[in-house]
């Protein structure tokens, strides 16, 4: 009975959640006359598969893909490393000014980007980083507050006794971080990796502001080129959106099982 209800709710909700993707896909493979029909065409009379290739080759998307991959891979690595270090620092030590610094860290999440934009642009300009991928990569090596907070909350749920036992065995703080907490954090790290990956993959504003030359553009910038001031190429937007969804989705599908890999619950604590 409860089972059936669970499945009922899940299936109903997932129908709602999968709709955007289905609609985007259907839009991508429609012919132009069908695109604008009403009542809407739910399944096109003939699937225009070539729309994907057409959209891809309208712009140098190969180059955009390369740039996006560079940004996403390098920055995700930096984010995982730096935010887990910082989170461990906040979660497992008492030190002077800790709480004040932590509030400061939290507060950086609350600054609207509108006002940071110009000063940051000036700074990156002075560093000679404008029109390079650096502004999109380097800051990730200095720990984002959102992820630090997330990981810190996660670490706080891990019993201290684990650390104490390791310390008894002569481990120092770095070893405790590296050998004990990093593996224990795995679900949360996968989460951080996923979130950061998606943020970087879908980031529009950063690339728009810091990149000038088409050879430096990322995928989302290419996507936005289909939206002009007056007219929008809906088919191409839908086609590229579908293509852009696929790599993160596949990656997520394989990553999410590690989120479910609750190591503490079963083995350590028992």
């Amino acid at each position: 009975m409860v089972r059936a209800l669970t499945y009922g709710v899940l299936i109903f909700l997932s129908a709602l959640f999968i709709m955007p993707f289905c609609w985007t896909f259907v839009t991508a493979v429609k012919s132009i006359p069908e695109l604008y029909q009403y009542p809407p065409v739910f399944w096109p009379s003939a699937l225009q598969w070539e729309n994907f290739a057409t959209a891809w080759f309208k712009q140098p998307f190969d180059i955009y893909l390369k740039n996006s991959l560079i940004v996403v891979v390098l920055s995700t690595f930096g984010q995982l490393l730096s935010s887990s270090l910082v989170a461990f620092g906040f979660a497992r030590f008492h030190f002077k000014g800790r709480d004040a610094i932590f509030i400061l860290l939290l507060s950086t999440m609350m600054i609207p980007w509108d006002v940071k934009m110009i000063p940051l642009y000036m700074e990156f300009n002075m560093l000679g980083w404008i029109n390079t991928l650096k502004p999109l990569i380097v800051p990730a090596y200095f720990a984002d507050a959102f992820f630090v907070f997330l990981l810190r909350q996660y670490i706080m749920t891990v019993p201290v006794e684990i650390d104490e036992a390791a310390r008894m065995d002569g481990a120092n703080s770095w070893q405790i971080y590296w050998r004990i907490h990093l593996p224990l954090m795995m679900p949360a790290l996968v989460l951080v990796g996923t979130f950061h990956f998606m943020n970087a993959w879908n980031d529009y504003l950063g690339p728009l502001i810091y990149l000038n030359d088409q050879s430096k553009y990322t995928l989302t910038l290419g996507l936005s080129m289909f939206k002009g001031l007056h007219e929008t190429d809906i088919t191409s937007i839908a086609a590229i959106t579908v293509i852009l969804c696929i790599p993160p989705l596949i990656l997520f599908f394989f990553a999410q099982r590690y989120i479910m890999n609750g190591a503490i619950g079963s083995s350590v604590k028992g």
Partner: protein, 311 residues
Amino acid sequence: MGTNPDSAAQRSRTLEKLTPYLFISPWILGFLAFTLGPLLFSLVMSFYDWPVVGERTFIGIENYEIMLTQDPLFWDSLWVTIKFGLFFVPFNIILGLLLAVLLNQRVIGSGIFRTIFYLPSVISGVALVTIWAWIYSHEYGILNFLLGLAGIEGPNWLGDPSWSLLAIVVASLWGLGGTMLILLTGLQSIPKELYEAAKISGVPAWARLLFITIPMLSPMLLFTFITSIIAAFQQLTIALLLTGGGPLESTYFFAMYIYDNAFKHFEMGFAAANSWVMFLIILALSLFVMKSSSAWVYYEGEMKNKENADG
């Protein structure tokens, strides 16, 4: 060097003292390099009449004065944002929790379900808005088409001030896959034994949720609470692209007020003053939540005393 045991011990003690700072140093350095400067810069800007191009003039607190006493849009947009937050924050957390609890069970195809619920978060903003416009359109939208099949005449979702904010709330909630994942991750760290013991003693499911899951999940709930508040205040993209703040400012969020002052009216100083006020409001709310959290958040791994931590 290593012959004097005293100095070696002292060195290692100093090192111990430094260790926490070394751990958090990446963030400190990043803050100094990429945040502090722009932050102070924007504070200075907020006391200036600062057009994007042209002369900048120091005007003291005039920007703050105009905002608080002369510009009705400031209060209007603040009120819209608060209304949005009152809907968005609880629903985001409750629905996220519901999904997380459902998916934490042994469900066939749970991986696929999790992927589906995260799907809207994967689709980039440009396409999401096209989809919502298609759903909400008054004459030609799919929502009113479906309601029409049921014999109901649907409202003008985005064109009627009494529905538009709700429509934006629903569209925003579509991205709750992220919250679901965070809570799902939190659920992983709850020892299964607790549930088994409770089950054996005959504790019903709702009580297990209330007395085991929620307290054990409270650190993650605190996280989603605070980040949802921040998200509510920074809500911009969907409304900007879907309604442009209308109709009649019913979806004119505070973030859009800042955005317009900066990018439509080119008043960077005024926008900076707006931002600082917004910043202080969120900070106050977050501090309040953080302070209250000691009463309802339970940390399994909290340091019981100072000695433990410093080794």
